[in-house]
Symmetry: C2
Subunit: 227 residues, 2 copies
Amino acid sequence: FVQTINLRKTYKMGSNEVHALDGLDLTIPSGSFTVVMGPSGSGKSTLLYLVGGLDLPTSGSIVVDDDEIEKMDENALADYRRNKVGFIFQSFNLVANMTAEANVAFPLRFSGIKKKKRIERAEDLMEKVGLGDRIGHRPTELSGGQQQRVAVARALVNDPPLILADEPTGNLDTASGVAIMTMLDELCKAGKTILVASHDPRMLNYATHRVFLMDGQMVEEKQYLES
Amino acid sequence: FVQTINLRKTYKMGSNEVHALDGLDLTIPSGSFTVVMGPSGSGKSTLLYLVGGLDLPTSGSIVVDDDEIEKMDENALADYRRNKVGFIFQSFNLVANMTAEANVAFPLRFSGIKKKKRIERAEDLMEKVGLGDRIGHRPTELSGGQQQRVAVARALVNDPPLILADEPTGNLDTASGVAIMTMLDELCKAGKTILVASHDPRMLNYATHRVFLMDGQMVEEKQYLES
Ligand SMILES: Nc1ncnc2c1ncn2[C@@H]1O[C@H](COP(=O)(O)OP(=O)(O)OP(=O)(O)O)[C@@H](O)[C@H]1O
Ligand SMILES: Nc1ncnc2c1ncn2[C@@H]1O[C@H](COP(=O)(O)OP(=O)(O)OP(=O)(O)O)[C@@H](O)[C@H]1O
Ligand SMILES: [Mg+2]
Ligand SMILES: [Mg+2]
């Protein structure tokens, strides 16, 4: 389903270069629950941004089904992001002046679904993440973990085949975290492909595949555990 | 050091009322490492905002040393926030158009310390949180966990007697998380009072006191564990 070939992302800082991804060859099988772990700054979010079509690599390719993402034009990329991917951001990226419900319904606006149905679907997902009683709250009127759960619901509303989750449980207590992991697990069993970047070791309980990153490169689990 | 007396914070949402804090009687001893745990939405951040003088209660009092925070005028409150408290925000709240180093040095601007010394102190703290090589990066040029560590460094630069940490390890891998907890522990042993809101059970290893919140009220550990 997803394959990266010698994937590189380099940032220039004055005369310095930061190799956020440093030649990554990675295969994420269709229908897998792939967990990416690694130290803070090792390149997890960068990998997810590239796979999600939110940024372009410095070099190398990203193949999703039969499409080479890095070769797409802006329209094809926007289409890919909108229809193929559900992205849960590490810092949520909710729209401040819309209610939680409107935030969740937002990705459906080009779907052709009638407004009444869009609201129903959004409310349904908010219920599933335990926020049925917070529908009318704006992001600043929600706790950190509640904002995180709104971000999760929003990523799922379009029923995308590929879900990219960047630290989806970082602000959640044990019970709320397990609820989210269970949700992702059920989506995987229903045929979706899940790629999660996480520091939460409990996420490995649901993983069908594991990837370990250090300094923008893939390493063996042994190497990662010894670090 | 810190005591709350029948502390309440209520938000009005149309005809609804959200009781974020619902009558809290809490004592945080001077020099303690107090950890506040509880489900997402239980009131942890709200408690920290009130103790940190970032918001006023609906009713009840907050006594810090001999001052009743809720009775202070704007100037006294600003003074309290600037000199008495180091706050690590759950969503970091870094200034986007300043470098990491400038963000860390910012609380020192009214301290009377010369610029060269302010920069030295900021660089020193960035080193301590493992970001010596990220000094010139702006927040958007940092990973989520790196931003979190900048927020930690900034809260400590003024050497405040009371440190309020809201989920300080939520975006960190095991090693980085332990480094932060160890730092807070050393500050506690040096005489500071630490109040941490955290979902990370490892934080309890450092706690001298534990507080469990559910629905804005204090509960017994047993009640919290059964939830
Ligand atoms: N401005 C606001 N208006 C209305 N409700 C609010 C507002 N701010 C917070 N709340 C509500 O108050 C409750 C407590 O929020 P708080 O941020 O203190 O929770 P928390 O324990 O820090 O949660 P988390 O673990 O998710 O960070 C939540 O249920 C939240 O929805
Ligand atoms: N715009 C940028 N300019 C320069 N360097 C950047 C930029 N964005 C990210 N970096 C650097 O690239 C590296 C990888 O960042 P990334 O966000 O992918 O890490 P991460 O594994 O997600 O970390 P975390 O666990 O802390 O979220 C980091 O060292 C970071 O400082
Ligand atoms: Mg990240
Ligand atoms: Mg909170």
